[in-house]
């Protein structure tokens, strides 16, 4: 449906989009994800013909957006970041204008307007001035505008920014529905949003495509190892000793402020590799051994890296290991890989890569 080939856009010395290539298929919801300033809006603006590219091509259903703008633009409905609304008009007047500009006439125009008004549920406010509408309704009028002419591709730039939670849910529902008949591309810097709506995700950072897959696959490929956080009533050495028998645990790091009730808040973490830590187990820490039988028992919080995908098998063996030693486990929290981690990892990687490239 859409093919973006080696797209580059420079603003003077600043490269906003750098050799971006991807293809987008039919009838699904695609998510553009990236931190602010990653080049999402620029890419969308180029794809819709609002902006020229320094290099590269955008083909919409085989039509080049720069060479055959008329044919290509008819296939696209676009809602920019800020909905382009004429504030002193009513939604009906506005839709009338956009419909005519898209080449609709007479009965076909009226029919289309009726459909999109129904789809976006703006019937109640059709005769109010747009300037008097709430942000959510303005956004819907913007989406209605994009839907006019029944385009194959609908491109929405941050459609839920600035809306209240209920409006966000409604807009998401709408987008999901649209995804059944159209190819929908939306951009966002909110992960959960993209995760819930989109079938495929394109992660962009520093103008480059760094990942393009389904949300599940992204989680799987990029965060194979999961983690477990435990809090046990024992000192660090004891915990290390118990855990070293469990093969799946590859790395342990402790929160140093062991005695506080909220160890997770602690500032610094002591990283102890299990193989190095093993010889240390014999050396007793005077402080900890005294406290071990105290009324205020010693608490240790440890973050474990785990290389086994079956997280519950690991937690079971951890639990049993501690139970054998008769040490109470106060907390046992498996940490599942989230898209957020993938996102942070990927964008930070891109960051360091860029810095390295600059240094060279």
């Amino acid at each position: 449906m859409i093919a973006v080939e080696h797209l580059t856009k420079c603003y003077g010395d600043f490269t906003a989009v750098n050799d971006l290539s991807f293809e987008i298929g039919d009838g699904a919801v695609y998510g553009f994800l990236g931190p602010n300033g990653a080049g999402k809006s620029t890419t969308m603006n180029i794809m819709t013909g609002c902006l020229s590219a320094t290099e590269g091509h955008v083909l919409i259903d085989g039509h080049d957006i720069f060479e055959e703008p008329d044919k290509a633009k008819r296939l696209i409905g676009y809602l920019p970041e800020q909905p382009p609304l004429y504030m002193n008009e009513t939604p009906l007047e506005y839709l009338n204008f956009v419909g005519q500009a898209k080449g609709l006439k007479g009965a076909a125009l009226r029919e289309q307007i009726e459909t999109v008004v129904e789809q976006t549920r703006i019937g109640d406010v059709c005769h109010k001035r747009i300037s008097a509408l709430s942000k959510g309704y303005k956004q819907r009028v913007g989406i209605a505008q994009a839907l006019l002419g029944n385009p194959k591709v609908i491109i929405l730039d941050e459609p839920t920014v600035g809306l209240d939670p209920i409006q966000i849910i409604e807009i998401r529902e709408l987008i999901k529905q649209l995804g059944k008949e159209h190819t929908v591309i939306l951009s966002s810097h909110i992960l959960s949003e993209v995760q819930t709506i989109c079938e495929k995700i394109l992660i962009i950072a520093h103008g480059q495509l760094i990942a393009y897959d389904t949300p599940d696959a992204l989680e799987k490929t990029f965060l194979a190892d999961c983690g477990v956080t435990i809090t046990a009533e024992a000192d660090e050495n004891k915990v290390t000793e118990i855990l070293k028998d469990i093969e799946a645990v590859t790395d342990i790091s402790f929160d140093t402020e062991n005695t506080t009730d909220q160890p997770a808040v602690s500032a610094s973490q002591a990283d102890v590799d299990i193989n190095e830590a093993a010889p240390l187990t014999g050396i007793s820490n005077s402080n900890t051994s005294e406290n071990a039988d105290n009324a205020h028992p010693y608490r240790t919080t440890a973050h474990l890296s785990v290389n086994n995908n079956d997280i519950y098998a690991v937690t079971r063996s951890i639990f049993l290991a501690f139970a054998n030693e008769n040490i109470p486990l106060l907390e046992l929290t498996p940490k599942k890989a989230t898209l957020e981690d993938v996102f942070i990892e990927l964008t930070e990687n891109a960051n360091t890569k860029n810095k390295e490239a600059e240094e060279k």
Binding site: G49, C50, P80, P84, A101, G103
Partner: protein, 287 residues
């Protein structure tokens, strides 16, 4: 194009703009008609048009200030870019709507000579010839206004610049008398213009080498020509100012001559500034 045209026209009549424009024009023409045709009992309606042509200084910027600047301000220009219409169609649609808004009060005005003809001899041919010229001159000023509006996203700024430009154009003939007509004076003024041109090019392209090179080459050219044949520059600036005046050319029509040269000149101005407006809109895509 028709969509933009209809949309703009509706916009003018929904807001006060079209009415203010029409009212101003009618009031000025009315006062002129009162002074010349009724009080002084002159039967030439063209004098009225000549007298009231200064009204353009106010009404053209009022009408054109928002035409493109407002689109930018509201970010609706993005909509226009993403719709399957070209920037040429957008500018033409907007310009034609402006012409219609201008034509409506003018249609009322063109009844006046007929009314006066009931009470005496009116030279209808010169009257209507002048009205036509009045329209074409107004159209040229509107094109300039559209271009000025396309340069900024601030309506007030567009209006201010518009008023200044048209006012300068209105008085350029009388100002020309005070401008130095010596070769040296002209050369200096030209050099200043070269520097200004360089600054404008720099502002538009953000290209240092190009703007410096352009400015220096032009100044150099002026200096060389001045050295070789300084008589070229004698009276050049006043001459240019008179030639560029749109209002000066209108006076030919008032004197009863239907000057085709002037009509062609006005049409050239229209095409030139509409072309620049299209380019100015296109440029936004490339910045």
């Amino acid at each position: 194009m028709t969509a933009v045209f209809k949309h703009e026209l509706k916009n003018y009549f929904h807001s006060l703009t079209a009415y203010i424009f029409g009212a101003f024009l009618l009031v000025f023409i009315g006062i002129g008609a009162l002074r010349y045709n009724l009080q002084a009992s002159v039967s030439n309606f063209e004098y009225v048009l000549s007298y009231s042509s200064i009204v353009f200084v106010i009404i053209v910027p009022i009408l054109t200030m928002r035409v493109i600047a407002e689109e930018r301000k509201q970010k609706t220009d993005q909509l226009l870019y993403s719709l399957p219409i070209t920037t040429f169609q957008v500018v033409m649609g907007k310009y034609l709507a402006l012409l219609v808004v201008f034509l409506i009060p003018l249609a009322i005005i063109s009844i006046y000579p007929l009314i006066f003809a009931q009470f005496g001899d009116v030279y209808l041919l010169t009257s209507y010839g002048s009205i036509l010229a009045f329209f074409v001159m107004g159209a040229a000023l509107l094109a300039i206004g559209v271009f000025i509006s396309s340069l900024t996203d601030n309506q007030g700024f567009a209006a201010g610049i518009g008023i200044a430009v048209i006012l300068l154009n209105y008085f350029s003939v009388s100002l020309a008398e005070y401008v130095s007509s010596t070769a040296m004076g002209s050369a200096i003024v030209l050099c200043v213009f070269c520097v200004l041109l360089g600054c404008i090019v720099h502002h538009l392209t953000k290209n240092d080498t190009l703007s410096y090179a352009l400015g220096i080459v032009l100044i150099f050219a002026v200096c060389i020509t001045c050295r070789i044949n300084s008589s070229v520059f004698e009276g050049l600036i006043p001459d240019i100012m008179t030639k560029l005046s749109l209002f000066k050319r209108f006076s030919t029509f008032v004197n009863g001559v239907f000057d085709m040269n002037a009509i062609v000149y006005y049409l050239t101005v229209i095409v030139f500034f509409l072309f620049l407006s299209v380019q100015s809109l296109e440029k936004r895509r490339y910045n």
